[in-house]
């Protein structure tokens, strides 16, 4: 049922209120418009009991009372109210879409400015939680060496509902395996449930895909039963598709930095070893330089002569 304020439309709406007043004035007989409870809104009570309901989605939202022409006025007002309700419904949808657009715009700007996996994940979770307000957000990234989806360290105040989980295990692991986003209202009833997901009751989760492979998952989960919707899933998937390349770049950057640091460490070790070898070579060179001098040679000959003399005297 579309929510409208019938009283406001009849009395203060800039387009409709003057129209109602003009139509009432144009009727040949007296007539008035009341709300669904019979409270007079516009016109003068004609003192008769003929009532013509104004229906919206099958419900009475107001009535026209009066004589000649009142039925026609009720029909016109029902049409006007229906169009107004449709207009407002579309406007609400439009506003929701505009909110999403704005969120995504902000998300792109924020994650584009970050090179750290944790920052990107935090932004993605915050933006997802702005729209999907129930539950805790999480990002798990795939550790290729172990095949495990590991949670990204988040601020201490964040409540972690999930721990590391292998790809293919449990609902989350299978979402990563299949690459398809899912919404699950009752996780206990899902046969794929894993003991590692013990803290989760409801879940909306989307894979993070970059370079045509799954690199992790973005999700919002709740320890209480929560009716996540298809719209939540679509929204989370959109955020995941925006965040995934940024997470991928950040992981690549982190790996490159780690490798560069490792190379630097190895280089430092090699330089240190080389320095020892150079020192040893220099030492033996210095010893050779001393032992090859004429003075040292004469000394060695004198020592040999002394040894011979001692042997012959013995």
């Amino acid at each position: 049922m579309t929510q409208i304020n019938f009283r406001k439309l009849m009395t203060t709406n800039r387009g409709i209120a003057p129209l109602v007043a003009a139509l009432l004035a144009a009727l040949p007989g007296a007539a008035a418009v009341t709300d669904a409870d019979g409270t007079l809104l516009v016109g003068h009570d004609p003192g008769c009991r003929e009532e013509y309901p104004i229906l919206l989605d099958g419900e009475v939202v107001g009535r026209v009372i009066g004589d000649e022409g009142a039925a026609l006025l009720a029909t016109v007002l029902a049409y006007v109210i229906e169009r107004e309700a449709e207009k407002r419904s579309l406007a609400r949808d439009g506003l929701d879409k505009y909110r999403e657009l704005n969120l995504l715009y902000e998300l792109s700007e924020k994650i584009g400015a970050s090179l750290e996996v944790q920052s990107v994940a935090t932004v993605a979770i915050e933006e997802a939680c702005r729209r999907i307000k129930v539950g805790e957000g999480f990002v798990l990234v795939l550790e290729e060496a172990t095949g495990m989806l590991e949670p990204i360290a988040l601020p201490a105040e964040a409540q972690l509902l999930v721990t590391g989980i292998p790809v293919g295990e449990g609902v989350i692991g299978q979402i990563a395996d299949s690459g398809r986003a899912e919404v699950i209202v009752d996780l206990d009833a899902d046969p794929r449930w894993s003991a590692r997901e013990r803290n989760l009751r409801s879940l909306v989760c989307a894979p993070l895909k970059a370079r045509q492979r799954v690199i992790g998952v973005l999700g919002i989960g709740s320890a209480e039963s929560t009716a996540y919707t298809a719209a939540d899933l679509k929204f989370l998937s959109t955020i995941a598709s925006q965040a995934a390349p940024a997470v991928d770049h950040a992981m690549l950057y982190a790996r490159t930095v780690r490798e560069a640091q490792e190379r630097e460490r190895r280089l430092q070790l090699q330089v240190a070893e080389l320095r020892i070898e150079v020192d040893q070579a220099r030492q033996s060179q210095q010893v050779s330089a001393i032992t090859e001098t004429d003075y040292f040679k004469a000394l060695r000959e004198q020592a040999n002569d002394l040894r011979k003399d001692l042997r012959s005297s013995a």
Partner: protein, 125 residues
């Protein structure tokens, strides 16, 4: 509370979006008015003395800067709080908006919740 907010934009969907974002304020007695171009906006401002005006910059007949300048240089209207709305990427216009006397500058796509919060703040609700 009998405050009035004027929404000025030549694009009907933007007017409708802002009206929808501020709709709940009508229950607190706030009247929402709209205008589709600068000239019409000036007429409505002069007649209704709104407390707050959301003013698009790029409009036919009279642009938002000129409307803002006219309002802020009219002793009877200068207390009107004017928020200029413009597309992202035209931020060089910000300085021009400030020179025209605008109180605030918001770029599109705007955050509808920010618009609501600002309106509540300006109207003291």
């Amino acid at each position: 509370m009998d405050a009035t907010v004027l929404i000025v934009d030549d694009e009907s969907h933007i007017r409708l979006l802002i009206e929808q974002a501020l709709e709940d304020l009508e229950d607190q007695g706030v009247a929402l008015l709209t205008a589709t171009n600068g000239e019409e906006a000036l007429d409505v401002i002069a007649a209704e003395h709104p407390s707050l005006v959301f003013l698009d910059v790029m409009m036919p007949k009279m642009n938002g800067f000129d409307v803002c300048h006219a309002v802020k240089h009219d002793l009877k209207l200068r207390d009107t709080y004017v928020i200029l709305l413009t597309a992202k990427g035209q931020e060089f216009d910000r300085q021009r908006g400030i020179e025209a006397g605008a109180d605030m500058y918001i770029t599109k796509p705007f955050d509808p919740d920010q618009l609501l919060e600002k309106t509540v703040d300006v109207l003291g609700l």
